[in-house]
Point group: C3
Chain length 368, copies 3
């Protein structure tokens, strides 16, 4: 991405639902489907009584979400296209303008009938999820980012570079079949979830970012790594924290090296915000912003909407915790907040009813 | 069961909702309760848009379900008779013609006011669940299988034979009080969940099967063991797989011995399908079918509708995974698919909303 | 509390929803809000069919509940005031006359904008939950107990006494700002969750109880410790039981010493009922009642409405289990049943749908 393109891209990403278009739009109908509109509007009727002690202007609004199909550790909701269509409407109402497919596939389960991946032993999906998400993104005028395939090799062997080999044909076939067809196809998500320790990742990320950009006439790319903080433990582990949490200084040194190595092919970085404690947010966020600015990378936050502090892994987060994280992102002058993720943890139709209430609290607060 | 009876029984079990009666029946009313009909029919309205990449004819339909009262490790739904009545209607709509009480009781919690078990210190249940399930099975013209009592001795000591002693009086009183009263009383489920390693089980299973059949004029019996595969770990464990997975060959040798020892008193075997990986399904299923055929035992699959791959133990399975398992059962010429279990993991009124969506996806796909 | 006050207090606590006001009140409207009334009444329509084998007169009714904000290990529901208002209505319908704030705050998350706790680095809450709960308790004529602040020091260091230092200013500011303002402010809950082993707790409990009572003109105080029984394991642990369960005799010796040390400033004790097995209930409950009588402390039960026996920590309990515990409390002549807690595990609007069914079963049974 040349400087002019990047400037345009950065500007685009800063359009936010609440800040950019005003709250009034939120309650107005989109005029597409009266019954669905009514359903969407009715969600936020049980509000209006709460007396807030804090102001919404201090929090960065969420304008993007991952779509967690194929899921790694979150139980599936078994939605069909009707439910996904409604979910995009809920997203739009809340100010979301960008959706990111978390990964094209995970091990043998894939989101679209990839000739290449099927030839490698992957299972035929029941429907073409990728095509469906792109149709919906077109319909709701959203930007769609395509998350690369994850073969599991990195998780099994620690070697991220093996994903390069698998993703070359994936990127080619996806661009040929979907990229040119849908106007919503807006960029690429390099889906390897690394932390500072995954240093071999520089070469892999560079090659993957380069492939994506050269294939797609320089469409933007981003990554969403995790901070190696005190809550960085496996979902299947009982431990709630990690004794050897990374220090802010070590984090800065390692990521300076990584950013320097990938800056020409990665346009944005959205660190996951859930592995550090709430009182550490400012320290890590300010370093992240300085680093991103130094290397010309857009600084986003991945505001996790699930709670890492509970024995059930995972349930929607308490609104106050989400608010604290979005306030820290605002203080650090972050440019965009994306979330992992709307459909399980923030949607009014989520199987977790706490998610719908989180939506209510968020919309009500942001409009207060 | 003599050969003629067994042939009749096998034929009966092969009547399947979708294959046997056609899809049109699914959407027609049962004419029993207009309001409930409307409720049941409304479940599958949000469909019709999805474009399937695969055909339903390649999957074996589910025609039976366990009823998981008393539950071992699945949180209770606290349903009364009204909810159970509605659930039987949902089951019927989906093509289920057989319900199996998972167990008469587990340790001190029991499903019916058994004079024998109460005298041994079991707790009086609030309602007579056994009577209720039989009334509902009669009402909806289903076959009911009674699952034997589980004292916990096997789990604590590894000795399955102790269950023989407890179940002799249970079988007697259940047959006397319920077996002759309800026309839906169709057979017995020998509820010990064994794997190939539980070899002492041959003697226990033989004695239990013999008791059931001699008491009830040779009503059919079945077992539902688990394959000692890579996902065979305790629900309370974090490990998601097992390093020393049984090989197909070892599985065949052990089960050949077991089947040979129980073939005269056990009429069907429904291996649980969730302990092996999806790419192992064909290998294990074809062996199971060969073995079952060799010893004249009907070969069913226990298609688990919960997901063993997630940190939350347990939530409803993703439809694609269920579809893969039912396709493998069809390829292996299995004769019937039962599921563990409808009410938590597949019912539109389940506390897990993912279950209702799994129902939608299944019905929509099977009718496509 | 002098003897006359204590007698009055004890009498008050024995007013129970079902026993005290009769079942008919349960189904009548409160006349405050027609739409909400209709919503509340509609909850229990799917009943009336069940044939009970046991009598409600043998179970102690639940008349109080904790309010689990700030939660320690239960995922948040993200309710606003509208949902809380409706929940108080549901509570009232079921016979609840007392609500207990589980704790004023936990570590850095607090329920009200405490000048003291904010100065110590706690986070500003989005709304003043304490004020809201007191307004609702006033509105629904309930008794409100304030649970003390929990800094986490006890959990981290085992030293309960550190909570005394934090709670002195908390008790002062809460009494000044809320205690005199709301007529529902009825007492104090000394929130340290100890077992018999926490012996240093005597000094801490005595000092905290004394502070509360001297500040508030002798309002009642209570504690809710856990029995160091076989299920006493951490929520994040997989083990479902504990090998070195406390014996009844050891329990009696230790608690005799504790009760003796706090009897002049603690008015009631509600042991948590979930750490012992169902067949141990009578043994422990009779000892608890004898001890409480000996030291002039009211004997309540904390009837847990979540299930400690399941892999998901935590889901609503099966009604039969709750019934067994309330029957044991009745047999032991306990004076009041409180629950942990209504809103997650027993409310018709809980995110756990099993909770609404537990409400149905409870109301239906208590009215049978």
């Amino acid at each position: 991405m040349n400087k002019q393109n990047r400037r345009k891209f950065l500007k685009q990403t800063m359009q936010t639902g609440f800040a950019g278009v005003g709250a009034s739009m939120l309650l107005s109908s989109c005029g597409q489907d009266v019954e669905a509109d009514s359903q969407v509007d009715n969600v936020i009727t049980m509000n209006g009584k709460d007396r807030f002690l804090v102001k919404p202007a201090h929090a960065l609004p969420i304008t993007a979400t991952f779509i967690d199909e194929i899921s790694h550790d979150i139980p599936h909701q078994n939605w069909g296209e009707a439910e996904w269509d409604l979910d995009f409407r809920y997203m739009q109402k809340m100010g979301i303008n960008t959706v990111i497919l978390i990964r094209a596939g995970y091990r043998k389960f894939i989101t679209y009938p990839s000739a290449y991946l099927l030839s490698k032993g992957c299972y035929m999906p029941t429907v073409d999820l990728l095509d469906m998400f792109l149709r919906l993104a077109d319909k709701y005028s959203m930007h769609f980012y395509f998350g690369l395939y994850d073969s599991g090799a990195y998780w099994d062997t620690g070697d991220l570079y093996k994903e390069v080999e698998h993703n070359k044909p994936v990127i080619e076939e996806v661009w040929a079949k979907y990229g040119s067809k849908y106007k919503s196809f807006a960029g690429w998500y390099i889906s390897g979830e690394i932390s500072r320790k995954t240093k071999g990742s520089i070469r892999a990320f560079h090659e993957l970012g380069n492939m994506c950009k050269s294939m797609s006439n320089d469409l933007p790319t981003f990554i969403s790594p995790w901070i190696d903080g005190k809550k960085a433990v496996m979902a299947s582990s009982n431990s709630l924290s990690k004794s050897d949490a990374v220090s802010v200084r070590q984090h800065e040194e390692d990521w300076s090296e990584i950013f320097d190595g990938i800056k020409d092919v990665i346009d944005a970085c959205a660190f996951q915000d859930g592995h550090i404690d709430y009182n550490e947010l400012d320290a890590f966020f300010s370093v992240n912003k300085q680093l991103a600015d130094r290397y010309g990378i857009a600084c986003w936050t991945n505001a996790e909407t699930f709670d890492r502090d509970m024995p059930i892994k995972f349930m929607p987060i308490k609104f106050d915790k989400l608010r604290l994280k979005l306030e820290a992102a605002k203080r650090a002058n972050y440019e965009k907040a994306i979330t992992f993720e709307f459909s399980h943890f923030m949607s009014p139709q989520s199987a977790y009813k706490q998610a719908g209430h989180l939506y209510d609290r968020y919309v009500q607060f942001m409009n207060s």
